[in-house]
């Protein structure tokens, strides 16, 4: 029970931290923020690795390997696609504002 309460504490505090750090996100970054945070949700890969590395119940091994694969698609795909988007957001050297008529 103490373990559960401690975990809930961490969960609640992390939720508030999450709201706090991204509350001012500009619209420009809605998609990258979403796909970047999406990649972070692939963190369940670390639970999956431990399961896939056991010797024992074959069902568990199958589930573990499948989970590692899915989570890695999420992680690698998510971070890479976010980087690809953000690369496009570099300000082209044309400078800001419309040019005056020639």
């Amino acid at each position: 029970m103490a373990e559960l309460l401690f975990a809930l504490n961490i969960f609640i505090l992390a939720t508030f931290v999450g709201f706090e750090v991204i509350s001012k996100v500009p619209r420009l970054l809605h998609t990258p923020l979403m796909s970047g945070s999406n990649a972070i949700s692939g963190i369940s890969v670390i639970g999956a690795i431990l399961i896939a590395g056991e010797v024992g119940d074959p069902l568990r091994t199958v589930l573990g390997v499948l989970a590692v694969t899915l989570a890695m698609i999420n992680v690698v795909g998510g971070f890479m696609v976010t980087d690809r988007m953000l690369e496009m957001f570099r300000q082209p050297p044309r400078g800001g504002g419309p040019r005056p008529p020639a």
């Binding site: 029970m1 559960l4 961490i10 969960f11 992390a14 939720t15 999450g18 991204i22 996100v25 500009p26 619209r27 970054l29 809605h30 998609t31 990258p32 923020l33 979403m34 999406n38 972070i40 949700s41 692939g42 963190i43 670390i46 639970g47 690795i49 431990l50 896939a52 590395g53 056991e54 010797v55 119940d57 069902l59 589930l63 573990g64 390997v65 499948l66 989970a67 590692v68 899915l70 989570a71 890695m72 698609i73 999420n74 992680v75 690698v76 795909g77 998510g78 696609v81 976010t82 980087d83 690809r84 988007m85 953000l86 957001f89 800001g96 504002g97 419309p98 040019r99 008529p101 020639a102």
Partner: protein
């Protein structure tokens, strides 16, 4: 000692994710933020591989390699116009992974040893993960147009979903009670898992295309919650922290999207908005005035200020490069061009920004709705390109309209309006658009890309 190193690595990973989100929310630091997040993930994975519990590495490596390869190829190959379905799919596999972890933990439980806290966490994670997985696959199907994008409704739909949810909750409660004493119960567990997969699909069906931004943000939140749930199951704090961070960012984006449509999450999910086309007599007796490419080109060429309002139609016709060419051609003539971005234009949060950035349109030309609206009074020509409901003046003026109260881009306040659209058909909300019939409005009936190509041609001779 080894345990301490692993725990410290997890702590570092959690901290890296917080910094990553912080940096991802500012344009200057966003790319670095994403790299910090990826590094945090790498540290967490490598630390886990050091774990003493691991007896063999072959299967782990196989999963790591195959998953990374599939993810990398998908991320490289996907065109920017397909980003919404890509993000949906990545959400789905993330939720699926958490579901599988909870499932694997369930089959290893022993009766008399499993605590209620672990059991509840297993059920929550399995259900949320399964809903995320099947819901995201369904959203992918809708966005990829494998399934009709419009709301799909049938009699007793919401009642049916409610019954499904209740059945899942009852099964979960039964499983918690029974597993605690006598060990895993495969049949009821698989039934619960199956019902959760059905529920995920069923609750997406009545959500229509234009509400996709809300849905994708919500599924993002779900995938975070599933990861946090897996953390409760495994007593792993970095999973809880990361899952909570993703969950909060998903919830925040969901809220922002809903505010931008002046609707509640409940209305989006259960309202089957736009299911009934009510485009009736509103347009009767009124005539929309068409315009040809050369007239449109002249109007644009001699304007001082042009505002382009892009919508989902821009993504569908893949006209982002042509619209950039139009911007360049007009700017060369001294016309000031900006893009008015509605927060829910497109099929995911920020869709238009990504699409226009791909065409190398500098992001300072993309102006948010609140900032561009006061400017529209002083705009000579507003070009509505594949947008409809987000420029419908009924949202401001007609209390009986389903759109009433939704913040819109005031395209109708510009001196002239050119609407590029294939036909006069109503937008997603199924409401006729007053704007099309105004005296200052001209309709250019064509596919977005084709229309722009013709206008660009005509511009050369103006």
């Amino acid at each position: 000692m080894r345990v301490a190193v692993i725990e410290l690595a997890y702590l570092a990973a959690g901290a890296a994710f917080i910094v990553a989100l912080k940096w991802l929310s500012s344009p200057r630091t966003a790319r670095r933020g994403n790299l910090v997040g990826a590094s945090g993930m790498l540290v967490a994975v490598v630390a886990t591989l050091l774990h003493q519990e691991i007896v063999r590495y072959e299967y782990i490596l196989a999963g790591l390699v195959v998953g990374s390869a599939v993810g990398a190829v998908a991320a490289r190959r996907a065109p920017m116009t397909a980003m919404p379905q890509m993000v949906a799919l990545f959400n789905g596999v993330g939720g699926g992974a958490s579901m599988l972890v909870a499932w694997a933990e369930y089959v290893a439980l022993r009766g008399g040893q499993a605590g209620a806290d672990v059991l509840v966490s297993v059920m929550v994670t399995t259900v949320v993960g399964a809903v995320t997985l099947s819901g995201s696959v369904m959203a992918f199907g809708k966005l990829q147009e494998l399934v009709p994008g419009r709301p799909i409704t049938y009699p007793l739909q919401q009642a049916g979903n409610l019954v499904l949810l209740l059945a899942i909750l009852l099964l979960a409660a039964f499983l918690v009670a029974r597993t605690a004493t006598t060990g895993p119960q495969p049949a009821p567990f698989y039934l619960m898992l199956g019902l959760a997969l059905v529920l995920g699909t069923a609750f997406i069906l009545p959500v229509g295309g234009a509400d996709m931004p809300v849905l994708i943000a919500l599924l993002n939140a779900f995938s975070g919650l599933a990861a946090a749930g897996a953390g409760f199951v495994l007593h792993n704090h970095v999973l809880i922290v990361s899952g909570a961070l993703v969950g909060s960012s998903g919830v925040l984006l969901t809220q922002i999207m809903c505010w931008a449509m002046n609707r509640s999450v409940g209305n989006v999910l259960f309202g089957a908005f736009g299911a009934t086309a009510q485009a009736t007599g509103a347009a009767a007796g009124r005539v929309a005035q068409p315009i040809q490419a050369d007239e449109a080109a002249t109007l644009l060429a001699y304007a001082r200020r042009v505002v382009i309002v892009p919508g989902y139609g821009l993504a569908v016709s893949r006209a982002q490069n042509e619209v950039r060419d139009l911007m360049t051609a007009l700017e060369a003539r001294g016309v000031q061009v900006s893009f008015a971005i509605h927060p829910v234009a497109g099929r995911m949060p920020g869709h238009m920004n990504v699409l226009l950035a791909e065409a190398d349109i500098p992001y300072d030309r993309l102006v948010d709705m609140e900032e561009i609206n006061p400017e529209l009074e002083r705009t000579d020509v507003a070009v509505v390109l594949g947008a409809n409901d987000v420029v419908n003046p009924a949202a401001r003026s007609d209390p009986t309209s389903p759109l009433y109260g939704m913040p819109i881009i005031d395209a109708d306040r510009a001196a002239h309006v050119i609407v590029i659209k294939r036909s006069l058909s109503p937008g997603f909300a199924g409401v006729d658009n007053e704007l099309f019939y105004m005296a200052k409005t001209r309709m250019f009936f064509a596919d977005g890309r084709e229309a722009l190509v013709r206008i660009l041609q005509a511009l050369k001779t103006v």
